[in-house]
Chain length 245, copies 2
Protein backbone atom coordinates (compact mmCIF):
# COMPACT_ATOMS: atom_id res chain seq x y z
CA UNK A 1 0.00 0.00 0.00
CA UNK A 2 1.35 3.37 -0.97
CA UNK A 3 1.84 6.06 1.62
CA UNK A 4 -0.75 8.67 2.28
CA UNK A 5 0.32 11.86 0.52
CA UNK A 6 -0.70 15.06 2.30
CA UNK A 7 -0.83 18.74 1.42
CA UNK A 8 -1.35 22.22 2.78
CA UNK A 9 -2.43 25.35 0.92
CA UNK A 10 -1.04 28.81 1.68
CA UNK A 11 -3.06 31.67 0.19
CA UNK A 12 -1.09 34.92 0.22
CA UNK A 13 -2.74 38.30 -0.14
CA UNK A 14 -4.05 41.35 1.73
CA UNK A 15 -6.97 41.49 -0.70
CA UNK A 16 -8.34 38.14 0.54
CA UNK A 17 -8.09 39.18 4.21
CA UNK A 18 -9.76 42.55 3.55
CA UNK A 19 -12.59 40.76 1.76
CA UNK A 20 -12.06 42.84 -1.37
CA UNK A 21 -11.25 39.69 -3.37
CA UNK A 22 -13.16 36.48 -2.68
CA UNK A 23 -10.85 33.49 -2.88
CA UNK A 24 -11.70 30.98 -5.58
CA UNK A 25 -8.50 28.97 -5.36
CA UNK A 26 -8.95 27.00 -2.12
CA UNK A 27 -12.03 25.14 -3.35
CA UNK A 28 -10.50 24.45 -6.75
CA UNK A 29 -7.21 23.09 -5.36
CA UNK A 30 -9.05 21.09 -2.68
CA UNK A 31 -11.17 19.30 -5.27
CA UNK A 32 -8.18 18.85 -7.58
CA UNK A 33 -6.09 17.25 -4.83
CA UNK A 34 -8.91 14.88 -3.86
CA UNK A 35 -9.08 13.76 -7.50
CA UNK A 36 -5.34 13.01 -7.65
CA UNK A 37 -5.33 11.17 -4.30
CA UNK A 38 -3.57 13.83 -2.26
CA UNK A 39 -5.06 14.56 1.18
CA UNK A 40 -5.49 18.28 1.85
CA UNK A 41 -5.01 18.69 5.61
CA UNK A 42 -4.82 22.41 6.24
CA UNK A 43 -5.24 25.80 4.60
CA UNK A 44 -3.85 29.11 5.77
CA UNK A 45 -4.45 32.61 4.44
CA UNK A 46 -1.89 35.27 5.35
CA UNK A 47 -1.15 38.89 4.42
CA UNK A 48 1.54 40.19 2.06
CA UNK A 49 3.90 40.24 5.02
CA UNK A 50 7.29 38.55 5.03
CA UNK A 51 7.22 37.23 8.59
CA UNK A 52 3.67 35.91 8.25
CA UNK A 53 4.40 34.20 4.93
CA UNK A 54 7.63 32.55 6.08
CA UNK A 55 6.16 31.36 9.38
CA UNK A 56 3.14 29.78 7.71
CA UNK A 57 5.22 28.31 4.89
CA UNK A 58 7.66 26.70 7.32
CA UNK A 59 4.83 25.29 9.45
CA UNK A 60 3.12 23.74 6.43
CA UNK A 61 6.17 22.48 4.54
CA UNK A 62 7.54 20.71 7.60
CA UNK A 63 4.24 19.01 8.21
CA UNK A 64 2.85 17.94 4.84
CA UNK A 65 4.14 16.19 1.72
CA UNK A 66 3.38 19.25 -0.43
CA UNK A 67 2.50 22.90 0.06
CA UNK A 68 0.68 24.83 -2.66
CA UNK A 69 0.90 28.63 -2.47
CA UNK A 70 -1.19 31.09 -4.44
CA UNK A 71 -0.62 34.81 -4.91
CA UNK A 72 2.19 37.31 -4.68
CA UNK A 73 4.22 36.46 -7.78
CA UNK A 74 3.30 39.51 -9.89
CA UNK A 75 5.37 42.59 -10.77
CA UNK A 76 4.50 44.99 -7.94
CA UNK A 77 6.06 45.89 -4.60
CA UNK A 78 3.52 43.78 -2.69
CA UNK A 79 4.48 40.62 -4.63
CA UNK A 80 7.00 39.12 -2.24
CA UNK A 81 6.23 35.40 -2.36
CA UNK A 82 9.35 34.33 -4.35
CA UNK A 83 11.65 36.22 -1.97
CA UNK A 84 9.94 34.74 1.08
CA UNK A 85 10.22 31.21 -0.32
CA UNK A 86 13.93 31.73 -1.07
CA UNK A 87 14.45 33.01 2.46
CA UNK A 88 12.53 30.11 4.00
CA UNK A 89 14.68 27.61 2.08
CA UNK A 90 17.87 29.59 2.75
CA UNK A 91 18.74 29.85 -0.95
CA UNK A 92 19.55 32.80 -3.19
CA UNK A 93 17.18 34.37 -5.68
CA UNK A 94 17.99 36.04 -8.98
CA UNK A 95 16.84 36.65 -12.54
CA UNK A 96 16.30 33.20 -14.04
CA UNK A 97 18.14 33.03 -17.40
CA UNK A 98 15.45 30.99 -19.15
CA UNK A 99 12.59 33.21 -17.95
CA UNK A 100 14.65 36.31 -18.77
CA UNK A 101 15.23 35.04 -22.32
CA UNK A 102 11.50 34.47 -22.80
CA UNK A 103 10.72 37.91 -21.41
CA UNK A 104 13.21 39.47 -23.88
CA UNK A 105 11.37 37.76 -26.74
CA UNK A 106 8.02 38.80 -25.44
CA UNK A 107 8.55 42.38 -24.26
CA UNK A 108 10.19 45.42 -25.84
CA UNK A 109 13.18 47.06 -24.18
CA UNK A 110 10.86 49.81 -22.86
CA UNK A 111 8.39 47.27 -21.47
CA UNK A 112 11.11 45.26 -19.77
CA UNK A 113 11.25 47.58 -16.77
CA UNK A 114 12.28 46.74 -13.24
CA UNK A 115 8.74 45.74 -12.29
CA UNK A 116 8.45 43.18 -15.11
CA UNK A 117 11.97 41.91 -14.50
CA UNK A 118 10.85 41.19 -10.96
CA UNK A 119 8.66 38.40 -12.33
CA UNK A 120 11.79 36.61 -13.65
CA UNK A 121 13.24 36.31 -10.13
CA UNK A 122 13.18 32.65 -9.14
CA UNK A 123 14.79 31.02 -6.07
CA UNK A 124 17.99 29.14 -6.89
CA UNK A 125 17.38 25.49 -7.69
CA UNK A 126 13.65 25.84 -8.31
CA UNK A 127 11.95 24.10 -11.20
CA UNK A 128 9.79 26.35 -13.40
CA UNK A 129 6.05 25.87 -13.84
CA UNK A 130 5.38 27.48 -17.19
CA UNK A 131 3.72 27.22 -20.57
CA UNK A 132 3.36 29.32 -23.71
CA UNK A 133 0.37 31.14 -22.24
CA UNK A 134 1.79 31.82 -18.78
CA UNK A 135 3.81 35.03 -18.60
CA UNK A 136 5.13 34.98 -15.05
CA UNK A 137 6.01 31.36 -14.27
CA UNK A 138 5.31 29.55 -11.06
CA UNK A 139 7.92 27.25 -9.60
CA UNK A 140 8.49 24.20 -7.44
CA UNK A 141 11.26 24.12 -4.86
CA UNK A 142 11.57 21.19 -2.48
CA UNK A 143 8.00 20.30 -1.55
CA UNK A 144 6.63 23.79 -2.16
CA UNK A 145 4.68 24.64 -5.31
CA UNK A 146 4.37 28.39 -5.92
CA UNK A 147 1.50 29.49 -8.15
CA UNK A 148 -0.26 32.64 -9.32
CA UNK A 149 -3.24 34.10 -7.49
CA UNK A 150 -5.31 34.72 -10.64
CA UNK A 151 -7.54 31.63 -10.80
CA UNK A 152 -7.21 30.90 -14.53
CA UNK A 153 -3.40 31.03 -14.32
CA UNK A 154 -3.28 29.01 -11.09
CA UNK A 155 -5.47 26.35 -12.72
CA UNK A 156 -3.14 26.11 -15.72
CA UNK A 157 -0.22 25.74 -13.31
CA UNK A 158 -1.98 22.92 -11.41
CA UNK A 159 -2.37 21.03 -14.69
CA UNK A 160 1.36 21.41 -15.38
CA UNK A 161 2.60 20.42 -11.95
CA UNK A 162 0.12 17.67 -11.06
CA UNK A 163 1.65 14.89 -13.19
CA UNK A 164 4.96 15.39 -11.37
CA UNK A 165 3.54 14.83 -7.91
CA UNK A 166 3.46 11.65 -5.86
CA UNK A 167 -0.05 10.52 -5.22
CA UNK A 168 -1.37 8.26 -2.55
CA UNK A 169 -4.12 5.72 -2.37
CA UNK A 170 -7.20 7.46 -3.67
CA UNK A 171 -9.84 8.40 -1.15
CA UNK A 172 -13.08 6.81 -2.31
CA UNK A 173 -16.37 8.48 -1.58
CA UNK A 174 -20.07 7.71 -1.83
CA UNK A 175 -22.97 9.85 -0.81
CA UNK A 176 -26.65 9.39 -0.16
CA UNK A 177 -29.49 11.76 0.60
CA UNK A 178 -30.99 10.91 3.98
CA UNK A 179 -34.41 12.55 3.54
CA UNK A 180 -34.21 13.43 7.21
CA UNK A 181 -33.11 16.27 9.40
CA UNK A 182 -29.56 15.84 10.71
CA UNK A 183 -30.83 15.61 14.27
CA UNK A 184 -33.12 12.69 13.39
CA UNK A 185 -30.25 10.43 12.37
CA UNK A 186 -27.31 11.70 14.41
CA UNK A 187 -27.58 8.88 16.98
CA UNK A 188 -27.59 5.84 14.66
CA UNK A 189 -25.07 7.57 12.41
CA UNK A 190 -22.64 7.91 15.29
CA UNK A 191 -23.02 4.20 16.02
CA UNK A 192 -22.23 3.37 12.38
CA UNK A 193 -19.22 5.70 12.41
CA UNK A 194 -17.91 4.03 15.56
CA UNK A 195 -18.44 0.55 14.11
CA UNK A 196 -16.55 1.43 10.91
CA UNK A 197 -13.31 3.04 12.09
CA UNK A 198 -11.53 2.93 8.70
CA UNK A 199 -14.15 5.12 7.14
CA UNK A 200 -15.04 8.76 7.58
CA UNK A 201 -18.72 9.57 7.68
CA UNK A 202 -19.80 13.14 7.15
CA UNK A 203 -23.25 14.63 7.61
CA UNK A 204 -24.14 17.80 5.71
CA UNK A 205 -27.47 19.54 6.23
CA UNK A 206 -29.08 21.50 3.43
CA UNK A 207 -32.45 23.01 2.57
CA UNK A 208 -34.21 21.32 -0.34
CA UNK A 209 -36.13 23.09 -3.10
CA UNK A 210 -39.13 23.50 -0.79
CA UNK A 211 -36.80 24.94 1.92
CA UNK A 212 -37.30 21.75 3.92
CA UNK A 213 -34.30 20.58 5.97
CA UNK A 214 -32.55 17.56 4.49
CA UNK A 215 -29.17 15.91 4.94
CA UNK A 216 -26.50 14.52 2.65
CA UNK A 217 -24.44 11.69 4.12
CA UNK A 218 -20.96 11.06 2.72
CA UNK A 219 -18.92 7.95 3.47
CA UNK A 220 -15.22 8.06 2.60
CA UNK A 221 -12.53 5.42 2.81
CA UNK A 222 -9.37 4.34 0.99
CA UNK A 223 -10.64 0.75 1.22
CA UNK A 224 -13.43 -0.03 -1.24
CA UNK A 225 -14.77 -2.98 0.76
CA UNK A 226 -14.91 -1.03 4.03
CA UNK A 227 -16.59 1.84 2.22
CA UNK A 228 -19.27 -0.54 0.91
CA UNK A 229 -19.80 -2.06 4.36
CA UNK A 230 -20.24 1.32 6.00
CA UNK A 231 -22.50 2.57 3.19
CA UNK A 232 -24.52 -0.64 3.52
CA UNK A 233 -24.99 0.08 7.21
CA UNK A 234 -26.06 3.65 6.42
CA UNK A 235 -28.60 2.45 3.86
CA UNK A 236 -29.95 -0.15 6.27
CA UNK A 237 -30.30 2.49 8.96
CA UNK A 238 -32.21 4.78 6.60
CA UNK A 239 -34.43 1.89 5.47
CA UNK A 240 -35.21 0.93 9.07
CA UNK A 241 -36.16 4.53 9.77
CA UNK A 242 -38.24 4.54 6.55
CA UNK A 243 -36.22 7.45 5.26
CA UNK A 244 -35.25 6.33 1.77
CA UNK A 245 -37.67 7.23 -0.96
CA UNK B 1 -6.27 56.80 19.15
CA UNK B 2 -7.97 53.46 19.74
CA UNK B 3 -6.00 50.28 19.49
CA UNK B 4 -5.91 48.21 16.37
CA UNK B 5 -8.31 45.29 16.82
CA UNK B 6 -7.27 42.09 15.06
CA UNK B 7 -8.91 38.80 14.20
CA UNK B 8 -8.34 35.29 12.90
CA UNK B 9 -10.85 32.94 11.30
CA UNK B 10 -10.86 29.19 11.90
CA UNK B 11 -12.93 27.21 9.40
CA UNK B 12 -13.60 23.68 10.65
CA UNK B 13 -14.69 20.87 8.34
CA UNK B 14 -13.53 17.86 6.32
CA UNK B 15 -15.95 18.87 3.57
CA UNK B 16 -14.03 22.10 2.87
CA UNK B 17 -10.68 20.28 2.70
CA UNK B 18 -12.06 17.57 0.40
CA UNK B 19 -13.43 20.26 -1.92
CA UNK B 20 -16.93 18.82 -1.64
CA UNK B 21 -18.20 22.06 -0.10
CA UNK B 22 -16.84 25.38 -1.32
CA UNK B 23 -16.39 27.78 1.58
CA UNK B 24 -18.48 30.93 1.41
CA UNK B 25 -17.81 32.12 4.94
CA UNK B 26 -14.23 33.42 4.75
CA UNK B 27 -15.05 36.11 2.18
CA UNK B 28 -18.20 37.15 4.02
CA UNK B 29 -16.53 37.44 7.42
CA UNK B 30 -13.49 39.17 5.90
CA UNK B 31 -15.64 41.88 4.36
CA UNK B 32 -17.79 42.15 7.50
CA UNK B 33 -14.74 42.66 9.73
CA UNK B 34 -13.31 45.31 7.42
CA UNK B 35 -16.61 47.18 7.68
CA UNK B 36 -16.57 47.11 11.49
CA UNK B 37 -12.91 48.16 11.70
CA UNK B 38 -11.47 44.83 12.76
CA UNK B 39 -8.28 43.73 10.97
CA UNK B 40 -8.44 40.15 9.75
CA UNK B 41 -4.85 38.88 9.92
CA UNK B 42 -5.05 35.15 9.29
CA UNK B 43 -7.38 32.35 8.27
CA UNK B 44 -6.95 28.64 8.88
CA UNK B 45 -9.00 25.72 7.63
CA UNK B 46 -8.67 22.43 9.51
CA UNK B 47 -10.36 19.02 9.52
CA UNK B 48 -12.93 17.68 12.01
CA UNK B 49 -10.01 16.51 14.14
CA UNK B 50 -9.63 17.40 17.82
CA UNK B 51 -5.87 17.92 17.82
CA UNK B 52 -5.94 20.02 14.66
CA UNK B 53 -8.81 22.19 15.91
CA UNK B 54 -7.30 22.82 19.34
CA UNK B 55 -3.84 23.58 17.97
CA UNK B 56 -5.14 26.09 15.44
CA UNK B 57 -7.55 27.62 17.94
CA UNK B 58 -4.83 28.14 20.52
CA UNK B 59 -2.46 29.64 17.94
CA UNK B 60 -5.08 32.11 16.75
CA UNK B 61 -6.65 33.05 20.10
CA UNK B 62 -3.28 33.81 21.65
CA UNK B 63 -2.32 36.01 18.74
CA UNK B 64 -5.39 38.03 17.79
CA UNK B 65 -8.04 40.09 19.58
CA UNK B 66 -10.80 37.77 18.32
CA UNK B 67 -11.13 34.38 16.68
CA UNK B 68 -14.20 33.51 14.64
CA UNK B 69 -14.85 29.82 14.05
CA UNK B 70 -17.32 28.33 11.58
CA UNK B 71 -18.56 24.76 11.39
CA UNK B 72 -18.87 21.72 13.61
CA UNK B 73 -21.72 22.74 15.92
CA UNK B 74 -24.43 20.48 14.51
CA UNK B 75 -25.94 17.27 15.97
CA UNK B 76 -23.71 14.58 14.45
CA UNK B 77 -20.61 12.70 15.61
CA UNK B 78 -18.32 14.85 13.45
CA UNK B 79 -19.53 18.05 15.15
CA UNK B 80 -16.85 18.44 17.81
CA UNK B 81 -16.18 22.18 17.85
CA UNK B 82 -17.85 22.94 21.20
CA UNK B 83 -15.93 20.14 22.93
CA UNK B 84 -12.64 21.30 21.41
CA UNK B 85 -13.25 24.88 22.50
CA UNK B 86 -14.06 23.75 26.06
CA UNK B 87 -10.89 21.67 26.11
CA UNK B 88 -8.76 24.53 24.74
CA UNK B 89 -10.10 26.86 27.48
CA UNK B 90 -9.85 24.15 30.13
CA UNK B 91 -13.51 24.48 31.13
CA UNK B 92 -16.33 21.97 31.43
CA UNK B 93 -19.12 21.50 28.94
CA UNK B 94 -22.70 20.45 29.53
CA UNK B 95 -26.31 20.85 28.49
CA UNK B 96 -27.01 24.58 28.76
CA UNK B 97 -30.26 25.06 30.77
CA UNK B 98 -31.53 27.96 28.66
CA UNK B 99 -30.89 26.19 25.35
CA UNK B 100 -32.34 22.98 26.76
CA UNK B 101 -35.51 24.83 27.78
CA UNK B 102 -35.89 26.26 24.29
CA UNK B 103 -35.31 22.81 22.73
CA UNK B 104 -38.02 21.35 24.98
CA UNK B 105 -40.44 23.98 23.68
CA UNK B 106 -39.43 23.43 20.10
CA UNK B 107 -39.06 19.65 19.84
CA UNK B 108 -41.27 16.74 20.91
CA UNK B 109 -39.95 14.18 23.40
CA UNK B 110 -39.27 11.76 20.49
CA UNK B 111 -37.39 14.41 18.52
CA UNK B 112 -35.28 15.40 21.50
CA UNK B 113 -32.87 12.53 20.99
CA UNK B 114 -29.21 12.37 22.00
CA UNK B 115 -28.09 13.89 18.68
CA UNK B 116 -30.30 16.96 19.07
CA UNK B 117 -29.41 17.30 22.75
CA UNK B 118 -25.80 17.49 21.62
CA UNK B 119 -26.55 20.91 20.13
CA UNK B 120 -27.41 22.21 23.61
CA UNK B 121 -23.93 21.44 24.92
CA UNK B 122 -22.15 24.75 25.55
CA UNK B 123 -18.80 25.29 27.31
CA UNK B 124 -19.16 26.58 30.87
CA UNK B 125 -19.13 30.37 31.07
CA UNK B 126 -19.84 30.94 27.38
CA UNK B 127 -22.31 33.58 26.25
CA UNK B 128 -24.96 32.36 23.80
CA UNK B 129 -25.32 33.72 20.28
CA UNK B 130 -28.92 33.03 19.45
CA UNK B 131 -32.20 34.35 18.08
CA UNK B 132 -35.72 33.08 17.44
CA UNK B 133 -34.69 31.68 14.06
CA UNK B 134 -31.46 30.00 15.14
CA UNK B 135 -31.96 26.45 16.43
CA UNK B 136 -28.45 25.47 17.54
CA UNK B 137 -26.92 28.57 19.12
CA UNK B 138 -23.40 29.78 18.62
CA UNK B 139 -21.47 31.12 21.59
CA UNK B 140 -18.70 33.45 22.65
CA UNK B 141 -16.14 32.38 25.23
CA UNK B 142 -13.17 34.59 26.00
CA UNK B 143 -12.10 36.03 22.68
CA UNK B 144 -13.46 33.12 20.64
CA UNK B 145 -16.73 33.40 18.73
CA UNK B 146 -18.13 30.02 17.67
CA UNK B 147 -20.57 30.05 14.76
CA UNK B 148 -22.41 27.68 12.43
CA UNK B 149 -20.95 26.55 9.13
CA UNK B 150 -24.16 27.05 7.15
CA UNK B 151 -23.68 30.52 5.61
CA UNK B 152 -27.16 31.92 6.30
CA UNK B 153 -26.95 30.95 9.98
CA UNK B 154 -23.37 32.15 10.34
CA UNK B 155 -24.39 35.50 8.85
CA UNK B 156 -27.25 35.86 11.33
CA UNK B 157 -24.80 35.08 14.14
CA UNK B 158 -22.35 37.73 12.92
CA UNK B 159 -25.14 40.31 13.10
CA UNK B 160 -25.87 39.31 16.69
CA UNK B 161 -22.30 39.26 17.93
CA UNK B 162 -20.86 42.22 16.02
CA UNK B 163 -22.34 45.00 18.21
CA UNK B 164 -20.66 43.42 21.25
CA UNK B 165 -17.15 43.54 19.80
CA UNK B 166 -14.47 46.16 20.28
CA UNK B 167 -13.66 47.86 17.05
CA UNK B 168 -10.55 49.74 16.10
CA UNK B 169 -9.88 52.72 13.92
CA UNK B 170 -11.55 51.99 10.63
CA UNK B 171 -9.31 51.14 7.72
CA UNK B 172 -10.16 53.60 4.95
CA UNK B 173 -9.81 52.54 1.35
CA UNK B 174 -9.93 54.14 -2.08
CA UNK B 175 -9.40 52.51 -5.42
CA UNK B 176 -8.71 53.62 -8.97
CA UNK B 177 -8.48 51.81 -12.27
CA UNK B 178 -5.01 52.25 -13.74
CA UNK B 179 -5.82 51.49 -17.39
CA UNK B 180 -2.43 49.85 -17.57
CA UNK B 181 -0.89 46.46 -17.21
CA UNK B 182 0.53 45.85 -13.73
CA UNK B 183 4.03 45.60 -15.11
CA UNK B 184 3.79 49.08 -16.67
CA UNK B 185 3.29 50.83 -13.36
CA UNK B 186 5.04 48.54 -10.86
CA UNK B 187 8.14 50.76 -10.65
CA UNK B 188 6.53 54.14 -9.92
CA UNK B 189 3.97 52.41 -7.69
CA UNK B 190 6.73 50.95 -5.55
CA UNK B 191 8.24 54.45 -5.18
CA UNK B 192 4.86 55.81 -4.04
CA UNK B 193 4.42 52.92 -1.58
CA UNK B 194 7.85 53.59 -0.10
CA UNK B 195 7.17 57.34 0.17
CA UNK B 196 3.86 56.74 2.01
CA UNK B 197 4.71 54.26 4.77
CA UNK B 198 1.44 54.67 6.72
CA UNK B 199 -0.58 53.48 3.77
CA UNK B 200 -0.91 50.09 2.11
CA UNK B 201 -1.00 50.11 -1.66
CA UNK B 202 -2.28 47.05 -3.45
CA UNK B 203 -2.20 46.29 -7.15
CA UNK B 204 -4.73 43.84 -8.58
CA UNK B 205 -4.62 42.79 -12.23
CA UNK B 206 -7.78 41.85 -14.09
CA UNK B 207 -8.98 41.32 -17.64
CA UNK B 208 -11.48 43.93 -18.83
CA UNK B 209 -14.59 43.23 -20.93
CA UNK B 210 -12.45 43.01 -24.07
CA UNK B 211 -10.07 40.58 -22.25
CA UNK B 212 -7.43 43.32 -22.17
CA UNK B 213 -5.16 43.32 -19.10
CA UNK B 214 -5.95 46.13 -16.69
CA UNK B 215 -5.14 46.88 -13.06
CA UNK B 216 -7.04 48.12 -10.03
CA UNK B 217 -5.00 50.07 -7.51
CA UNK B 218 -6.19 50.19 -3.90
CA UNK B 219 -4.80 52.56 -1.30
CA UNK B 220 -5.63 51.82 2.34
CA UNK B 221 -4.84 53.72 5.52
CA UNK B 222 -6.36 54.45 8.92
CA UNK B 223 -5.42 58.12 8.44
CA UNK B 224 -7.66 59.96 6.00
CA UNK B 225 -5.10 62.65 5.21
CA UNK B 226 -2.33 60.15 4.49
CA UNK B 227 -4.70 58.13 2.34
CA UNK B 228 -5.51 61.26 0.30
CA UNK B 229 -1.82 62.12 -0.07
CA UNK B 230 -0.94 58.64 -1.33
CA UNK B 231 -3.96 58.51 -3.63
CA UNK B 232 -2.97 61.96 -4.94
CA UNK B 233 0.48 60.62 -5.76
CA UNK B 234 -1.05 57.59 -7.52
CA UNK B 235 -3.33 59.83 -9.60
CA UNK B 236 -0.44 62.11 -10.50
CA UNK B 237 1.65 59.12 -11.56
CA UNK B 238 -1.15 57.82 -13.77
CA UNK B 239 -1.68 61.30 -15.27
CA UNK B 240 2.02 61.64 -16.03
CA UNK B 241 1.94 58.28 -17.77
CA UNK B 242 -1.24 59.37 -19.63
CA UNK B 243 -3.10 56.43 -18.19
CA UNK B 244 -6.25 58.00 -16.77
CA UNK B 245 -9.19 58.20 -19.11
Amino acid sequence: MRDIVTAGILVIGDEILSGRTKDKNIGFIAEYLTNIAIDLREVRVVADDEDAIIEALDALRNRYTYVFTTGGIGPTHDDITADCVAKAFGVGIGYHPEVLARFRERFSEAELNEARLRMTRIPDGAELIQSATIIAPGFKIGNVIVMAGVPSIMQAMMDIVAPKLKSGVKMLSESIQANAREGDIGGPLRAIAEAHPDTMIGSYPFLDEERKPNTNLVVRSRDSEKLQQAMGAVKQMLAELNLTK
